[in-house]
Amino acid sequence: MVSTERLADVFVEVADTLVDEFDLIDFLHNLADHAVTVSGGSSAGLLLADHDDSLHYVAASSASARYLELLQLQVEEGPCLDCYRTREPLITTDLSRETRRWPEFAPRAIEAGVHSVHAFPLRLRDRVIGAMNVFGDEPLPLEPSDVKVVQAMADVATIAILQERAIASAEVLTEQLQGALNSRIVIEQAKGVVSRAHGLTVDEAFAVLRTHARNNHLRLVDLAHDVVTGRVALPRS
């Protein structure tokens, strides 16, 4: 059952992102966190498509959700991929019934503790730019009205991703999406730098980057860029 109070917070935050130039990757991580609290799931993850229609991992609410997204890319099957293709929400309350549909993904996801998985397309008009998964370690039934709400969140997020103020041209869509995919690479490079420089795991390094960006009101991608190009060194925490 969807929490309307938390939903209100999400829309306020999304509205904020539409005002100024915002930090896309940080926003997507927040979106994954919000999708979990609003839907009552245990974790969430997002994939974005590039110009070749290949999906890339971009954000997740936890390490296990990231694993589940990467798993789908690796075995080339799963709810996120199906949802991206069909462009419709995909509700699976009992993953153990879908081992025939996803013979590679389902057993491994079940082994990782997943019971249910829902997928929502990130779409704008006739274009789908990716998909979001919400994972549950229990059945996590969603009413049709709940599905609509989570899909609405995904729709608003898509608008935020594409920063569509009025009628975005095809040029603007390409520019934004390519910029977003490259931002992801910058952040991976920065994670590596911080990890080695501070003796941290990659995940810990990401947490340090996010915290430092927030505390200093920097966009995560700008901070990551400065770290990789050697313009700033993060203080040891």
Partner: protein, 224 residues
């Protein structure tokens, strides 16, 4: 075709790429320029003289889409030069139009935080690139990036080193390892990736396996 040899080999490969892309997209011309490497900014390869001259103007005037693509690390697509926001690139725009060009599409040649240069596609009629054309241009921009990153590791037939094109879920680890090698060896991102590729190549291992070893604590030898 023999393996490319140094900068000239890279320029030759890129010129072939510019000409092939011009044909594939049915456009007026394509140019590849280098950015930010001290002293060597400028056009490195072009499909034809007009594209080279107009592209070079961006360096003479210090303005134009390649500078914007470089700074924003994303494509800058201008389907109609007449509609360029007033005063954005005044000298470049009027010179390009005088040369008979109507549209310019700039694609950064980048890998994360590293931008090596920009690939500019010129058309003599205004109009957007189709999605298929954008896909072709982005794919060729990626190939041009790989050629620039490491000319000597390009396969003898001029194709890309496919290690860099492995499936996308693996890439995050390659980029993380790249950041780690920068710290381990005190080198820049381009150098870090070159050394990783050389080490993987020399040891006949997939780049992704080496990346995973680096994440687990392996340190590349300094003189690799």
């Amino acid at each position: 075709m023999s393996a490319p040899d140094g900068r000239d080999g890279v320029a030759d490969l890129l010129q072939q790429l510019c000409r092939a892309l011009t044909t594939d997209l049915a456009v007026a011309g394509v140019a590849v320029n280098l950015m930010s490497t001290a002293g060597s900014d400028g056009v490195l390869a072009a499909s034809d003289d007009r594209s080279r001259v107009v592209d070079e103007l961006q360096f003479a005037t210090g303005e134009g889409p390649c500078h914007d693509a470089y700074a924003s690390r994303r494509p800058v697509l201008t389907p109609d030069l007449r509609s360029v926001t007033h005063g954005r690139w005044p000298a470049y725009t009027s010179a390009a139009r005088e040369a008979g060009l109507a549209a310019v599409f700039a694609f950064p040649l980048h890998l994360g935080a590293v931008v090596l240069g920009v690939l500019d596609v010129y058309a003599d009629q205004p109009g957007s690139l189709s999605r298929d054309q954008v896909t072709v241009a982005l794919t060729q921009a990626q190939l041009a990036t790989e050629i620039l990153l490491d000319g000597e590791l390009v396969t003898p037939d001029g194709g890309p080193d496919h290690d860099l094109s492995t499936t996308l879920d693996h890439r995050a680890e390659i980029y993380q390892a790249q950041g780690m090698v920068m710290v381990d060896l005190g080198v820049d991102p381009t150098d870090a990736l070159s050394r990783m590729r050389a080490h993987a190549f020399g040891n006949e291992r997939p780049l992704i396996d080496l990346a995973r070893d680096i994440i687990s604590g392996f340190v590349l030898p300094v003189d690799a």
